[in-house]
Structure formats: C-alpha cells, structure tokens
Symmetry: C2
Subunit: 237 residues, 2 copies
DNA sequence: AAGTGGTCTAGACCACGCG
DNA sequence: GCGTGGTCTAGACCACTTG
C-alpha cells in the first residue's frame, strides 16, 4: 500500500530497533542500498532523509550515514502524542474517565478558535486521564461537528483518534502546539489529584486535516511533576 | 553560495512575509515555478517540501500549495531558539548577566552528559537573562572545550552562537530538548526575580555538530509565567 | 584515486480534485 | 479531460573524507 521509500524507511527503523544497525554504526551506503533493494538512488535518499529528520540517523558528507542513539525517547519525535502512547511509556495502569460529552454551540472564544460558521456546532469532550491510580491530566477537546457528526462516550473512553482515522477516514495533516504554565484552576482542583501543586502545565493543540482545515482544538492540562516534552530538531537552513 | 532550492525557499518565505503570497492564497504550481525560475521540477519540489515541513505552506494533491497563516509564531518552528531571538519577540529591553565563566573538569554527571575523555575539560557558563528589568531565565551552559578552546566574558554577554558559528566555523547539526517542570532551587531563588513562584520550567538541551559529535549541554531555567514553547509538527508517516 | 553524500536535470507514470 | 502534486527512475557533476 505504501510507497517504496516509506517501506524502506520502516524497514531500516526496524533494523535499528532490533539492533541489526546498532547506535554509532554505519548504515550501508546509498549505492549499497540501491543494489540491495533494487531501488533508484532517489528512492533510497528519500528514506534516508526521513530517517535523518526524525532523529534516527545522521548523514555526513564523504563518510556515510550513522545511527544515532538519542532515540531513547519512546515518544514520536515532535509528533502528535496521544494519551495512549504516553501511558505506554509510563508506569502503572492507565484509565480514561469521561466527565462531559456534549454537542453545543460553545462560547465566542471556542467558536473563534475553531473558525466555525454560524450554523456549525462543536463537540465538547472533557476527560480525566488516570495513570497508576492518580488523576494527572485533564483533557478538554473540541471538535468541529461538520467533520465528526457522531461521538459516543465509549469512543471517548477508548481512542477518539482511532475512530477519526479508521472509522471516519479523516486524515490528519499537521498540528501546532503551545506549551505554557499557569496557576491551577478550580476545575483542575476538582478533577485532578494535584497533591499540593498549585500550577499546571497547559498544552494547547490545534489539529488540522491534510487539506488544511482546522478540526480540533484541545486544551490539555498536566500535573507539573508528571509532564515531559521531548523535541528533536535539525538546524533550519 | 547556497543551493538553488534554498534560494527559492528563502525567496518564497520573503514573498509570504511581505504579503505577496497572503495567507490561504495558492502558490504558483510546480510547473509555473519551474517555468518562472527555469529550475527543474525536483529543485522546485525540494523548496516546497521544506516550506511545508517548516509550517509555511500546505500542499494538497490535485489542488495546489496554500499559504498557512499559523506562522504567527515568530519563533523558528521547532528550532533552536536562542535568547536573542526570544528577547526580540518579547516586550522590553533585554540584558545578559554573566555570573560565572570557568574552564573546569566538572563533576561526573556533566562529564558523562558531554561524553568527555579523561584529559578533556569543559567550559561552564552561568548566565542570567533579563527582560524588561526582570531576571527571568537562568542559563547554565556547558561546552566541550575540545571544540571551543577559548571563551571570554564578552562573548558570553553577546552571543556564544555567533562566536561558535561565525568565528570558529563550527556547524550545528541537530539538538534534542527536554522540557520538564520542577520546584525552584536555592540557585534559582538567588539569581532570579521569582516573584513568589516556587516552580521553574527546565529546558535541557543537547546540541550536536553536523558530524554527530555532542558539544553542548545546557540547562535553561525559566520563570513559569514567562515561558512559552511552540511546536509545529506534521504527522509522521 | 576511490567512495561517500549533496545537488540538479529530464522524463515517465500515477492519484487526486474539479469543472 | 486537464491541472495538480506524489512517486520513481537514470544519469550527471560536485564537495567532502579517507587512504
């Protein structure tokens, strides 16, 4: 189903994770990979460039491509981190509690954020994320209902993203995140096990579909001691 | 000096910022750009792909490339943000105070972080960043002295990066950042105007040269109310 | 000199959106 | 059907590292 270069990209990641290409080791050269897989050089280069931008390898002119070992972050690099992915990398059982689910007009702020027309509504979902018996994340999601006509408590308890991508067939394009720190609100105190912390890490996320339309705005509120964000970046030209 | 596609990339950014290509408008098609600049399609596509990955445009198959307007973040997208760049986007005068500058062996933790050989030393720089008369950031930089033989207080007050790149000719390759939130330390309280805040946002950064060698480890401590991190990410394949 | 990755080209075919 | 971007190919030349 996928293109050749994505197949090769995934194949090399697999080899890196299995240890066939250990950290600091040199990958086969572009010529060797062309030979091995019978791909053109451009196809091989596309795969290697993706690996480089995603922090798996480092390419050095005249020398070769080398496996990086900083990829210990289980998180996708600068990616869209879902609660499920995050829970897997942390200790203890995880659970999602749906506190609120409604189709509403929303207030001015939200309607403005989601760029809604007068006749459009939005889904408002409030969920508490629990890991190891502690309620540590409060997620307030808002979806443009034009793209998501139906939403149930069960879907919200499971994974909204699975539903959106697999059931509805919507394709995520890109996302913009803003991370700030604020004083905890009444709502935070009510829903979370703050254990004395009076500040909260707020991650505002705007998610866009592949055609560039905004369809989700989420405010994710994290207990500060359980928050961690990892970012890998290559130098902009 | 630069390659064709980087020239084109910069030219288009300029047009976007000038307003010649306003938000939501369609860029000339790949064919038109080929025609206009007499470049091959591949060269044009390289420039457009960079624009896409850096959050300037969105490409839609069958339709065209469209200018995004979420580029209001003055920060380079997921880039290496220097204090200078940050200060420019904030209100008030900015100043850098050098609190400490020494060539030292360092402790186990630091030597381990920087992967130092027994005979290598490191530069330790402690600086306080002041914006609008308030001391809000405490930067603790550590450089492998093999790559940076000399460092003066003046350089530290100005921009260490300018010195590293322009004077020494070292080329930055990539960086990994980790953002966490912790209780403020004695050192934070001593150096910063915390105004009652008892927590601090810690940004740990590892900076690597283009050949993959680690040469800098920095712990940057921010007053929580003055901290903001913006991240733009396209969906990983 | 040989091998490596970086840039550039010209051409082909495909999948998608739209009228 | 036409124009759009996405994939793939083959070949050329360059810049850099290493022996």
């Amino acid at each position: 189903m996928n293109s050749k270069y994505i197949t090769l990209y995934n194949k090399i990641i697999e080899k890196i994770e299995q240890g066939s290409y250990p950290p600091s080791s040199k990958l086969p050269s572009e010529n060797e990979l062309m030979e091995k897989y019978k791909f053109s050089r451009d196809t091989v280069r596309k795969a290697l460039n993706m690996l480089e931008h995603n922090g798996y390898i480092n390419k050095v002119k005249g020398k070769g491509s080398f496996v990086l070992d900083i990829n210990r972050h289980k998180f996708p690099v600068s990616g869209l981190i879902s609660f499920k992915e995050m829970a897997e990398s942390m200790e203890g059982e995880s659970k999602t509690l749906v506190k609120n689910l409604e189709l509403t007009k929303g207030d001015k702020f939200l309607r403005n954020k989601l760029v809604l027309e007068d006749d459009e509504k939005l889904w408002k979902v409030v969920r508490v994320r629990e890991i190891g018996g502690k309620k540590i994340i409060l997620d307030k999601d808002h979806f443009n209902s034009t793209y998501i006509p139906e939403l149930t408590e069960e879907i919200c308890r499971d994974s909204i993203y699975d539903y959106i991508e697999k059931e509805l067939g919507l394709k995520i394009g890109f996302a913009k995140k803003e991370i700030t720190v604020r004083s905890s609100s009444e709502e935070d105190i009510e829903h979370l096990d703050l254990e004395g912390y009076d500040m909260i890490v707020v991650v505002d996320t705007m998610v866009y579909l592949q055609d560039g339309t905004l369809f989700q705005y989420t405010e994710s509120r994290h207990r500060p001691d359980k928050f961690k964000f990892v970012d890998f970046a290559r130098r902009a030209y």
